[in-house]
Symmetry: C2
Subunit: 136 residues, 2 copies
């Protein structure tokens, strides 16, 4: 009977491990307090030093709302079969990056239309956890 116990062990990741894991993926989820409430949407991204760089269009909610705003950015890689994986959470303010075209890496664009707004999320905090299934 399921008593609400699992066998996996959850361990905190070091900051350098978090950054290394962030660089292995291309899609994350950005969350913010929008006009309709908390919003979470998937975005593709690149890591640039201590920032996550995403791109959007001026007419999207992400583009329209204040450019200086606290956001959360989450990336994970989870295996539902093995019940193991990791997740990393970046918190920081997002800001428009007018310099971005010249100098910084930026992600490819998946969605149609012009997505020329480059948003940088400078990490104020980064944290992560790994879930490993115990050997039996």
């Amino acid at each position: 009977m399921d008593e609400g116990f699992g066998s996996g062990a959850l361990t905190e990741l070091r900051e350098d491990e978090c950054w290394d894991l962030l660089r292995t993926q291309t899609v994350g989820r950005v969350g913010w307090k929008g006009s309709d409430g908390l919003t979470i949407v998937p975005v593709n991204y690149v890591v640039d030093e201590t920032a996550v760089v995403i791109r959007t269009a001026p007419y999207t909610e992400l583009g329209r709302e204040g450019s200086i705003q606290e956001v959360a950015f989450e990336v994970d890689e989870l295996d539902p079969i093995a019940r193991s994986g990791w997740s990393v959470l970046v918190r920081g303010r997002r800001r428009l990056d007018p310099e971005a075209y010249g100098t910084t890496p930026r992600p490819d664009v998946w969605v149609g239309g012009s997505r020329w707004l480059v948003l940088r999320i400078e990490a104020r905090t980064i944290s992560g956890r790994r879930l490993a299934t115990d050997a039996h």
Copy 2:
């Protein structure tokens, strides 16, 4: 040269499509305004009528913070190669569900320790989008 244009078409999903897609997955991301700022973590879940049911432990941040609180819950399935996929966003208040053991479905537990708090997120709104790459 990358001009910031993508070729994918983003379409809004109907509510029934959103629910159908939610039922195809087992892992989503729940976001809320925590004591340290916006937080997003992956969780496994089940759908029960118009609610998302997740489980946590009393000592986690999700378990400790107020049981009546607005949260966002996001699920997606994205293919970075094809640059296509979908995402669904549920917004609602989460509440402890003391009846859960007897009557409602609940997700399996992945993490070690006792995770006996069952949280229901009753959907106040549900929305979703599908990204399909244009045929060339």
